[in-house]
Amino acid sequence: MTLLRTAPPTALFGLLVLAATLVLGLFAPLIAPYGETEIVGGEYLPWSAEHPLGTDNLGRDMLSRMIYGARNTVGLALLTTGIAFSIGAALGMFAALRGGWIDQALSRAVDVIMAVPPLILALMLLAIVGPSIPNMVGVIAVIYLAPVYRLSRAAAMNVVALDFIGAAQLRGEGTIWLLRREILPNISSTLVAEAGLRFCFVFLFIAALSFLGIGIQPPTADWGSMVKENATLITFGDVTPLIPAGAIALLTVSINFIVDWMLHRASGLKS
């Protein structure tokens, strides 16, 4: 609580938006007035009491799809970040501790992944494996594993160079102890901040892929593809397609604000 009181307004705003999104996503079936793929009326119905945000290109309720979208888009982004993070961080710490050929092999593989722009790599890989939700999650996890690996390796390298690691090694401690008890606690704050930032990237990335029609596939409700499906409305001056796009922006801004605050606090604590 004292922590919250010291938070700047931007961070408080961020926390509020994040909490609201999580609640919407978790309880989507209870909150949404209509089903995710339920056709409830004509196409492109304007905003009304019955359909607060109107209907989409197939006559589904926009608001309900927005709420389900919170579940799908955010949920998948969380899942993907989680996979990329646990594997990337574990491999990075391991490479830093072991060094030698293991480090070389892992690092060169990561170099290759990072030598290709993420969106292009994702498009190429998805062209090969075909667009589907599990494929997309896998491909993005592989792509974002690379920067997480680099960061955690670099952070762990700084720790490995310190004498207390040498002291533990001289004692004969095993790899698991060294990783979990000696290294991880010292890089966890870096990793947590990075997790926030990576989540933003992954979230935007999924949204972009879905917008391009290669990510989350219809009829699943998702904020990225909802923009695409209803984009024609823009040309009539209707802002409805901007709402899912705005939701993406809002959530990402919020998380960035939170991460910024955390980083600021961490740097402040150090000095």
Binding site: T10, D111, V112, A115, V116, P117, L119, I120, L121, L123, M124, L125, L126, A127, I128, G130, P131, C200, L204, A207, A208, F211, L212, G213, I214, G224, V227, A231, I234, T235, F236, G237, V239, P241, L242, A245, G246, I248, A249, T252, V253, I255, N256, F257, D260
Partner: protein, 318 residues
């Protein structure tokens, strides 16, 4: 050979090697594809004869490494094969679109880079001032917005409401430069906004990092004015990170055009790539992917080399 030359050559070699590895992996990836490519493309109804003919036409009946070498020698000679979807030469498909993509990216870069570096410098100079803090919040917000959000917002305001620019950025060989600049202003602006935000933050961080060095305190204690401390004492040492920031963002521009091209129906490489991925037109995916990867690698290598050259420790190595 000096240490510097060795370093530069090794960076170049590494870049080229990476490109080969990427192209080979792409090839292997397609090779590992579950099922038969010809079958997938022609569909279940294709007769064995047509399938065989199709395979022969694509060279699918040869050993993988022969095909990779064939393809590679083709690439070197400027022959990228034929599109599976349209049957046209990939080289023909690419040429005008390549020029269009470079035009759009260049348009955005020329405007974005100087503005971003200047803003970053000013934010670092006036650290924690109102300007710095509002620039930071603005940049954070801009980074957080998906490109298509920014793009549609700009369309809504500048073409639908105000009618200043067209909603679609259609250009062809007949379009004059003036017209092209007008038609592509909104897509360029979308890119500019996102890129400025990234670059400004990174430039600021690079300068602030250097400003903490003891030699900056020394300069101030010599009575050097603040602007001169930043320009003469901090900037030369922040060059390497700033060069990297610029390269990273140029690379991002060339890649970032994909989404923007789709929104504005701009006839560029990104649009082509997305269509090819959707129709699984592998020769096109391969060619465009390789081009993007190549540009990205090239820019990073160039940034590496420039950073090395900007480092006096390496330039004047004993």
């Amino acid at each position: 050979m000096t240490r510097l030359q060795k370093l530069i050559l090794s960076r170049l070699a590494l870049g080229i090697a990476t490109l080969f590895v990427v192209s080979a992996l792409m090839f292997v990836g397609i090779e590992l594809l579950p099922g038969d490519l010809a079958q997938q493309i022609l569909g279940q109804s294709a007769t064995p004869e047509t399938l065989a003919a199709f395979r022969a036409e694509l060279g699918l009946d040869q050993a993988p490494h022969t095909r990779y070498l064939d393809w590679l020698s083709g690439v070197v000679q400027g022959d990228l094969g034929q599109s599976l979807a349209s049957g046209r030469e990939v080289t023909d498909l690419l040429s005008t679109r390549l020029a269009n993509t470079m035009f759009l990216a260049g348009y955005a870069a020329v405007i974005a880079v100087p503005i971003a570096v200047t803003l970053g410098l000013l934010a670092a100079l006036w650290r924690n001032s109102l300007f710095d803090r509002s620039a930071n919040v603005g940049a954070l917000s801009a980074i957080s917005m998906p490109e298509f959000f920014v793009a549609y917002l700009l369309i809504l305001v500048f073409s639908i409401k105000l009618g200043w620019f067209p909603t679609l950025a259609r250009i062809d060989t007949a379009t004059s430069l003036g017209q092209a600049l007008h038609v592509t202003f909104l897509p360029a602006l979308t890119l500019i906004m996102v890129v400025i935000a990234h670059m400004m933050r990174m430039t600021r961080a690079a300068i602030i990092n250097v400003l903490a060095a003891p030699y900056i305190e020394m300069a101030r204690l010599k009575g050097v004015p603040r602007w001169r401390v930043v320009l003469r004492h901090a900037l030369p040492n922040a060059l390497a990170p700033i060069i990297n920031v610029i390269a990273l963002n140029l690379a991002y521009l060339i890649v970032g055009v994909v989404v923007v091209e789709v929104v504005f129906s701009y006839p560029g490489l990104g649009q082509l790539l997305v269509d090819a991925v959707a129709s699984r037109d592998f020769p096109v995916v391969q060619a465009v992917g390789l081009f993007f990867a190549g540009t990205y690698i090239l820019l990073n290598v160039a940034a590496d080399i420039l950073s090395i050259l900007s480092n006096p420790r390496l330039r004047h190595a004993r």
